[in-house]
Each structure stands twice: as C-alpha cells, then as structure tokens.
Symmetry: C2
Subunit: 358 residues, 2 copies
DNA sequence: CGACAGTAGCAAAACGTTAGCAGAAAACAA
DNA sequence: TTGTTTTCTGCTAACGTTTTGCTACTGTCG
C-alpha cells in the first residue's frame, strides 16, 4: 500500500496525496477530505524510509551510553528520549559497555542509518575518530563525559569541583585517612574526580598515599573487590570516596561483609546521586547532579546544531550539589525503628523534579 | 559521497561497487581490491536508507517498554539489545509510561519507520489495535506482559504460580494477615499476581479481606502511600506481598518511616528480583525471574518470525524461583556488623549470569 | 578452429516519497 | 469580452541503493 495506490483509488496524482499528507496549501478542501478519508479507510501509513531518502533527513538521533542498565545512564537516556520526542524526533539507544570497539561499531551503524545527530555519553578523554566526525560538521554533543580538549558541544557536571567539595566535607568531619576508589582515568569523570581528590589532599598539606587509591570501572562489583583491598591497609582509612554511587554501593557491601559499621567505623561518599542512593537502606551521602536534566539539555544543544541555528561551540557545565544522607554520620545509615528515615515528601519531590509529568 | 562517486572515481559501474560492497562473486580480485581501497580512502559509508528502501527491510526492530528507568525494563532492554545486535539488527527503544496514548503514538512512528518487527513490553491485557497488527502478520512478540487471549508470540513468567508460591512461603512462616499491594489489573502481571494472592488465601480457607488489598502502578512512590494506608488497618497485617520489587522498596520505606522493624514487625516480599533487590541494605525476599534472558528469548522468537522460519504461534512461559533473603526473617534485613550479609560470590555469580561477557 | 562454459562488467529499472515546473481552471478587474 | 492573477492539480526528476538481463571477454576442450 503506497501513496500511488491511494492516488489511483482517489483518481488524483501522487503529488496531490503527498500534499494532503504534508498539509500543504493549494489543495481543494473537498479533495483533501476525500483523500484523507481514503487514507484512513485503508489505514495507509506513508513510508518513512522513502521520505528520509528524498529529504536527506531521518528525524532520528543516535544515543550511545556505556550501559543502559546503569541507573545513571537510564535516567540520562530517559531525559534524552523525552526531549527528543518533544522535538518530533526518535532516538536509537546503544550500550557500549565502555568497549571502544563496540562504540565504534555502533557509531558506524548509526552513521550508515543516517541519523541526523549523535549524543555520546560514553566517550574517553581522547577519541580521535569521534572528534574528527564532529570537526567535519556532524551534529554531535557529548554528555556526562567530555574530551580532553573539548572542541565539541557538551553538557557535563563540574566533576573536579564536586570532588573537592566532597573531600572538604570529609575533612571537615575530621577524616584524614581518606581512600579513593577511582574510575578509569581515560574517562573525564574518572580523571577529574581523581584530580579533585588528589588536589584536595595536597591543599590540606596531606600527601596523597598511592596505596589509598584503587581503581574500578565504575561498577559495583569492582568496588567490592577494591574495598577489600583497602581494608587490609594499615593504618586503615577512615573514609572512602567512591568514584560514583554504584561503586559506593559496592563499598557498603564489602564493609558490611567485613563487619564494619557505617558510618561509625567507616564513612562512605559517592557521586551522581542516582535515585537509589536515596532509598531506604542505602541513604548515601553523595554529590548530586541533575541527571535527567542533563539529557534534556544535550538534546537542546543538538537540535540547535541540526537546525543550524548555531555554529560556534557551546559547553554547558553544571554545578553538582552536596546531599548529605546517612553514610558519613549525622543520620545512621541503616533503617529500621524510626531512626534515620528521611521525611517521605523529599522523595516524592525528587521523583517529580526528575521527571516532570509528561 | 555516494556509490556513484566511488564508481566514477574507479572507472567502473555502480553495479560493480555494489557487488564489492555486498561481497558478491563475479568481480575480479584486482578490481575488488582497487574499489575497496578507494572506499576506505574516502571513508565512504553506503546509505542505509536507500538500501532499506529497495530491500524493503530496515534491519531494525522496535522495542516499547513502560519505563527504561525502571531497573526491570532496563535489564530486559539490555537483553534485547545484545541479542538483536548478535543478529545484526538495531533496536529502537521507547518508554510509554504505561500511557496507552503514548504507546499508540510510538507504534505509529515505528511502523512509519518500517521496523522489521516489534517487541512490546508494556501492553495491557486487552489491546485491540495491537492484536490486529499481529493478526495481519506483522512480526511481533510480547514480553513480560501478555494479552488476555494470547494469539500472539510472547515470553512471560508464570505470575500466577509465582504469586501462589510466595503466599505459601508467607503462610508457612505463620502469617495469616497478609496484605497485597497489587499492580493495575489491566496488566497481566498485576492481574495474575493478584489472582494468585486471592486464590492462595481461599485455598487456605482464609477469606480475602478487600481492605488488605491496595493498588499502585508498579511504582515505588505508590507503594509508600499504599503501605501507609495498610498500617492504619486493625488488625494490622503481619506481611505485605508487593506486586513488584519497586513497590516492595516503597513498602520498606513507609515501614521504616512508621518505626516498624523488618522482618520482626512486618514481613515484605516483592516480585521480579531486579538486581538491586539483592543489594546490601535491601536484601529483599522475592520471586526471581531471568529478566535479561527474557529479553534474549523475545528476540529469538521475533527473528523466527521475521525470517519466516515459523508461522504458528509460540508462547514461552518461564517458571520463577523463590529467593529468600532478609525481608521475611531468616537473615535480618539491615546490614552492618557482620549480620545478614550474603557471601559476595553470590553477587558476582549473579552478575555474570545475568550478563554473559560480551 | 569453433562451440561453449564461465567470468566480468555495464545499463537500466525498480523502491516510495518530495518538490519544482507547468498547465488548467476559476476568480477577479478593466 | 479580454487580460491578469490566484488557486488548484499533474508530470516528472530526483534521492542512493540493489538486482536483472545483457554483452563482451576469457580460456578449454573436442
């Protein structure tokens, strides 16, 4: 069933059908009605592939993230999806598991499918192929992570400042032996947070002890292993700054396993403030970023590019915000019997704030 | 840059270039090498849109779920993505927030984009438009939720049996006053689990008290409100069967807020076994389903349809499995000081099991 | 040496739209 | 009535591929 069939059934030309389909002027109301009725009657849907071919536009954007299963990325993806939809576009989502090879494969596929633009949430600090693509004028924006020398549009949070703020907080609580489970240094998130950690110590006149820094791939399981290693150290650290919330959860797991109480025996902070950081039973102190919002902003930036309303580069750097829950003292972290429960309203507000009713 | 440009640069016809692109025979090795070199040199990528138009095949499948932010769906989506990729296809993912209108919109868009097939994870029990589509021979499989009269391929878990098993467990622990926070009855998941709850009580000669059944939309926040209502009841229930894990988390939150201890004052069970149900600080007893695997199976079913290897309907019904953690007794639920921590290996195994290394 | 496979390569016709140009009809003004 | 807009509609050439039929070469063998 094509536009041609509709045309012959109505005794008009394909041009006319195309015009009623696209609500163009200069078609007689009566004729328009007749064609529309026929279209509905046979349930005709124009072929978007053919349309894309002639328009050189797919109204589709590619989104690549590290792992959609990661609550951080699923929230970003949701922000992107909603805003993309608002612009009348569709998004196709890909998870790379941080594998450069897989990222390249997906990029190729998306390019071959002729997406109108790209939102990348999983780039490394150095990524020549990708940078070249942007340089060639392909519409693209980085989100969450950015390049070392960012000549590309991006929306990120100030990870360095966030890390320093977090460290200030821990030091302010009296901690001196602070360990860091850092993310991979190839990623700007891992790199900047680590720099913030290191510089904070130095600024306090504390020499960073390399044994107190262990690495993980931003995954919960990695932090479990890393934390076990940290616990063997003497003197034992009194606080752990995890590179993200997921790793903070892994740290909590390992600490519980070792029989340590939180926060009495060990303080833990994360980074990101994914929704589950606020759940009962977890109550993680962390640096909060507007994750959903970042996704939306990335789309807005991208659309400006796609519609050629802007040529110069633009980078949005958001400031994260410290949210204090139970994992460093103040409120005890474990729930039960009325202690340490945040008033519920806070959660409801958060939920609404993250996801405006759509 | 098109196939035509490559052709003229190499002094051959477009047909030849097309043949080297598609690794067809009957092209001289020397020529093939020359063309391939040129293709690489100028970085040519064939236009997938044009190809799709002539092939009448996009190698793309549409996936619609309720909410990608929901860990259950993000895990299913991940299973789908991985398996779809293994088949050389791409998936485009849409979140409907369980809004029928939005689902229909997305369906229209996907159809217009000429996806080769559809995986739907958010259907209601009755969905005439969708059923009609499948009836017309469009390749489609339902996952997680199914239709009332399923004439469509699907992969679901046996929710009824799961609910009964869960109730048996609670009754076995001595509970008689068991409340249920059920999901919407329009969804087979909500409906079947509720039936399981009700029939279990009846089978025990207990008459289901309607006050003990409250509803929510499978969201955590809903369960917080619902649980508050349950706590006002006299006699107060001693156990809560939440319609899914997210709602179980909401129940835990409300119970903590009310100063109740878990599981001493109230037992809680969920359904699904999303990854975070096993986290430290949560340790939810729940019915486990192989979520990631369901996504993969759905893709396999769909591919059989797309490649016309099967005409008759096929429904895969998986059996869920009870996993006992801390929320009903046995192990205490709150972490800290060596109590109630599951050996770590369990978690690592789970992670591997869910997501085979890719 | 001629017939015959088999191999290489080309030209052109799809695929289902959009859009520019042009013609016809209708409306309006003189 | 005629000339001039204005409004409507049709024809046709793209868009960038794949595929089919055809021709023109090679060798090979009887």
């Amino acid at each position: 069933m094509t536009i041609k069939d509709i045309a012959s059934r109505c005794g008009v030309s394909v041009a006319t059908v195309s015009r009623v389909l696209n609500r163009f002027p200069h078609v007689h109301p009566a004729l328009r009605a007749r064609v529309e009725r026929e279209i509905r009657r046979v349930g005709f849907r124009p072929n978007g592939v053919a349309r894309s071919l002639v328009l050189k536009k797919t109204r589709t954007i590619g989104v690549v993230v590290a792992d959609i299963t990661n609550p951080f990325y699923s929230e970003i993806a949701r922000g992107i999806e909603d805003q993309v939809r608002a612009h009348g576009y569709t998004s196709v989502l890909c998870s790379t598991d941080n594998l450069p090879k897989r990222q390249l494969e997906y990029l190729q596929t998306l390019l071959e499918k002729r997406v109108d633009g790209l939102i990348l949430g999983s780039v490394r600090r150095r990524e020549p192929e990708v940078a070249a693509l942007a340089h060639n004028g392909f519409a693209m924006v980085l989100v969450n992570r950015s390049f070392r020398s960012p000549h590309v549009d991006s929306v990120v949070v100030d990870n360095y400042a966030g890390a320093r703020r977090l460290m200030e907080y821990l030091v302010g609580l009296g901690h001196r032996l602070i360990a860091h489970i850092r993310g991979p240094l190839q990623f700007s998130t891992g790199y900047d947070r680590y720099r913030g950690y290191r510089d904070s110590l130095r600024a306090r006149g504390l020499t960073p002890d390399p044994r107190y820094v262990v690495s993980g791939a931003f995954r919960r399981e990695d932090a479990v292993v890393a934390t076990r290693r940290l616990l063997e150290l003497r003197p034992r650290p009194t606080a752990i700054f995890a590179g993200n919330d997921l790793m903070a959860l892994g740290a909590l797991e390992a600490l519980a396993e070792a029989g340590l109480r939180i926060p009495a025996d060990m303080a833990v902070v994360g980074f990101d403030d994914v929704e589950l950081a606020s759940y009962w039973g977890i109550r993680l102190t962390t640096m909060s970023q507007r994750i959903y919002e970042m996704g939306r902003l990335a789309v807005d930036l991208l659309m400006e590019r796609i519609e050629k309303r802007r040529r110069e580069r633009r980078a949005i750097i958001l400031q994260p915000e410290l949210v204090i829950r139970g994992s460093c003292g103040g409120q005890p972290i474990s729930g039960g019997l009325g202690q340490g429960s945040l008033p519920l309203e806070t959660h409801l507000d958060r939920a609404q704030l993250r996801r405006p009713q759509g």
